[in-house]
């Protein structure tokens, strides 16, 4: 059985996994939160990701960068869920959806602009939003971002340019334009 296979040898493997993966959990939560916009859904996603990582740890290629590896798992799970939720809009609780929960409250006037930015970000297509987050917030190299997204580096670069341009456009002109229309709500 799978469980029996991890005995004493498994302990070393598990120690190694904890050592390499545990420090990445806050960043995994951050990427998940930026994509899902809601704490519970995001942490649920990270939990799913960690479970998969545990069962697939032995399939990892030796020397493979653990950060790119686990972000790939998280990214793929997130895309599956987001696709599913666009087919069937889920109700978002008002508290959970409040974008101000992302904004650092340090400076009030920046906080507002920050909120506009988070709203504008949500309007980018997934392929642009994800590349922008992976490169700027998670600081993945272009090559690692390409691995996580499963596309060539050239595609990463062109999506990144489009994402930056579009976000700038949404943020400039009228800040109202960057406010999303009210959240989709399910009609029951």
């Amino acid at each position: 059985m799978g469980e029996a296979r991890l005995s004493s040898k498994g302990d070393t493997v598990n120690h190694e996994m904890v050592r390499l993966i545990e420090p990445l959990i806050p960043a995994l939560r951050r990427y998940a939160r930026a994509l899902m916009r809601e704490r519970t859904a995001a942490d649920d996603l990270v939990q799913d990701c960690l479970e998969r990582a545990i069962s697939r740890w032995h399939q990892r290629r030796p020397g493979e960068d653990p950060r790119a590896w686990i972000f790939t798992i998280l990214h793929n799970l997130a895309m599956t869920r987001l696709r599913r939720s666009t087919q069937r809009p889920i109700h978002i609780g008002l508290d959970d959806a409040d974008p101000a929960s992302f904004a650092s409250a340090a400076r009030q006037e920046d906080g507002l602009r920050c909120q506009d930015l988070v709203n504008a970000l949500a309007q980018l297509p997934d392929e642009q939003r994800t590349v922008l987050l992976l490169v700027t917030v998670e600081e993945l190299s272009y090559a690692d971002a390409a691995q996580v997204l499963g596309v060539p580096i050239g595609t990463v670069m062109s999506r990144l340019s489009r994402a930056r341009e579009r976000l700038a456009r949404l943020m400039s002109a009228d800040p109202r334009a960057a406010r999303p229309s009210p959240h989709l709500r399910s009609v029951k």
């Binding site: 991890l6 939160r33 930056r164």
Partner: protein, 259 residues
Amino acid sequence: MNPLPITEDDLNGFVDGTLTPERHAEVSAYLDAHPHIGRRIAVYGEQRDMLRDAFAPVMDEPVPTELDLSRMIEERRLPRQAPRWAMAAAAVLLLSVGAAGGWSLRDLSPPTSEGVQALAREAAASYATYVPDQVRPVEIRASDRDVLAAWTAKRIGRPIGIPDLTAAGYRLMGGRVVPTEHGPAALFMFDDDRGTRLVMLARPMKADPALPMSPHTDGALNGFAWADDGLGYSLVGAVAPDRLHPLADELRRQIRSEA
């Protein structure tokens, strides 16, 4: 010699700090000479800082207990000590079900029905295919229970209750739609974290819409099958019949009470 032309990739690299110092200086000079592009790149830099600030607070949050990696690994590895109260609760439950006449030997009859025999074969075949699968024993995991319920309901043509055996020490792993000779069936898999997996198969029963519970066996694999309200069920596992029977009864009880 002329410097290489500045590309969009250089501009992104400038914002993300990935250029060599020489290239960085060249791009910087270019942006000074082309202020309107310089302004665009300054905006991108500002975007970058703001995005990082916006999501920085998440990094400082305490990591929730459910995301404690060491604990998750432990829980997978060690045989789960079913809490004593859960065992006791299960025992009480089974006693009360037994007392109410829900499970007793008179309920058992030999599998004479063709329909139940087919169902038993199909459940055993699904068990043999999916239970030993270490990579993907189930298609939809228990965490997506709603998706699983919706999918099986859609393919089978009516909702199939997903029972809960946690009180008896079995956790739902998830499930999938599987093919049978009689059309799509819903498969739900359970395990007790000691490597014992059980499979419940459910599909419409055209010929025998209602049948009492009957045991079936195939080598080390035991099963109990029954039909209610046009749906046939079989619970199979490499578990002794006297341990499997109360679980099958509990499944039937839950499914009946949900219906």
